[in-house]
């Protein structure tokens, strides 16, 4: 489903050049739960961004569903991200003046111009239920804890029915209990909905929950 061939990423120029990824090969099948681990600065986030078409690698190829992610225009890239990829970042980045429901619908607004159908609304409410925040559609983000905000971010990442969910340090800055509940949620989504899950973490406990660990 997702294939990385000889991918290298270099930051900086001349004597400041820094190899973050060096001729990496990686293959991820549909429905897999993969944890990308390694120390800070090893390139976990960089790899996730390359997989999510947010960053073009210095060299190498990335194939998603048989499509080479290189040389396609900005609109096609945006479409690819909207249709096939869901992101959960370390910071949930919910818009503070939008309700939880509106925050979840936001990717539809960005990808289609507006999130409008009754179906979209129902799906957003269902996702909110799925992440354990039923009945809080009209709440504003500031009323939520950090863990709850992270769960809303997961729901937001799933609204477009992506094939693959990329999560960058999803448990970072969360206490252990909250972090575990979030991983439970992601694991459930992976198992019940067949969602391909790629998770970057430096937490060994979290990595152990994945079916496969890729060490950088």
């Amino acid at each position: 489903m997702l294939e990385v061939r000889q991918v290298s990423q270099i930051y900086g120029k001349k004597e400041r050049r820094r190899h973050v990824l060096d001729r990496l090969d990686l293959q991820i099948e549909a429905g897999e739960f993969v944890a990308v681990t390694g120390p800070s600065g090893c390139g976990k986030t960089t790899l996730l961004c390359i997989l999510g078409a947010l960053l073009q690698p210095t060299s190498g190829e990335v194939w998603l569903d048989g499509q080479l992610i290189r040389g396609i225009n900005e609109a096609e890239l945006a479409d690819l991200r909207a249709q096939k990829i869901g992101f959960v970042f370390q910071f949930p980045a919910l818009l503070p003046t939008l309700t939880l429901l509106e925050n979840i619908l936001l990717p539809l607004t960005f990808s289609q111009g507006k999130g409008r159908s009754r179906e979209d609304g129902s799906r957003a409410i269902k996702l909110l239920e799925q992440v354990g925040l039923a009945g809080r559609e009209k709440d504003l983000p500031f009323t939520l804890s950090g863990g709850e905000q992270r769960r809303v971010a997961v729901a937001r990442a799933l609204i477009n029915r992506p094939q693959i969910l990329l999560a960058d340090e999803p448990t970072g800055a969360l206490d252990q209990g909250t972090g575990e509940r979030l991983i439970d949620l992601l694991e459930t989504l992976n198992e019940t909905e067949g969602l391909t899950l790629v998770l970057a973490t430096h937490d060994a406990l979290v990595a152990r929950r994945a079916r496969r660990e890729v060490k950088l």
Binding site: C49, L95, E102, L106
Partner: protein, 403 residues
Amino acid sequence: MILSLQRVAWRNLQRNKLRATLLILSVALMTATLFSAYYYLHSIERSLDAGASRMGADLIVVPEGLEGSVENLLLSGIPTEARMSANVVEQVAHTEGVSQVAPQLYLKTYSGECCNVYGDFPIIAVDPDLDFTIGAFLLEDRPLERGQVIIGSYIGSWDAYGMAYQPHWSESVRLLGEDFRIRHLLHRTNLGVDKSIFMTIDDARRLAESHPKVNVGAEEISVVMVKISPGFTHEEVALAIKANLAGVDVFMGNKLAYYVENQLGPIKMLLYGGAILVLLMTVIQVLAIFSAIVHERRREIGYMQAMGATKGRIIVLFLWEAFWASLLGSLIGLLAILVLWVDMRHVLQNLMPIPIKFPWYGDGIIVSVAVIVLAIFVTLSAMIAPVWWSMRRDPYQTVRDGE
């Protein structure tokens, strides 16, 4: 459930209320300044047009030998004792190329008090049926009748300016032993007119008959204001009048307009210069505010791209935010300045060093719409640069910013 970009932008505007308020106030200030500058100058231009059809009649017929004092008569209001026969009016009226005539008679200079103002005030008589001069500068269109006078703005003073619009306002002045009710005030002109008292020519003749010292003949007038018909030049008609009438001189009557226009030049430049400066300052302010907004949200921009937003859609989102701010700001600015103009128009007319004739409401609406469009355009233009700048980078870089 509709979550449009417009709605997201509207909510975004509420994220930092202080900054949004400052942004809206900047636009409001710009709008108010632009509207005021244009409206004020437009008012003055209308006033100049009126002035040109007032004392700046196309031609002025005066008794022969008055050359040196005709400008004084027109501009400073210093009256002349020279007079000519009233028959001149009819003869001038019948001259080819003349469309309108309005005789004026200088009666005498009244020294005393009027409306709590003391001074020497020339009394000038006009024929209410023929006159096309005072009407242009009347604050309100009320006909001048027997036993009534119209006074210049200086005589009216501050009190009268404020009170003249009240229905119960009533003031009179005693001239040559007779009480005259003050019918109304003239706009301020900064000319001799401001210190003049105008009455009907019938009243003036009646007063002259009963006061031999006034020394005005029964059938005498001082000047004849002339408007020419379309298709004729000033020179043609002046020559025709001179050819038909002996003992008169004819002068071009547009000197008043030139005079006021010359006075206006620097004021116009200052106003337009000020408006341009305010416009530039607002652009800089809006740029600074939007740069801060975009900088603060740069990581959010990366997240939006990760969610599938194209650069174009993100720019549109920010543009909507700028649109709401500018629409709100321009409406607030306009409302405030309109209230000020409407509520304070009489005071403003008196404060201004030059005459003002406000445009009709339709003009005001057109100017308002134009100013709103300009304010929105300026704000949107100022927003594009910082957003575009932040979008030049890879989404990855913006996502990692601030981590």
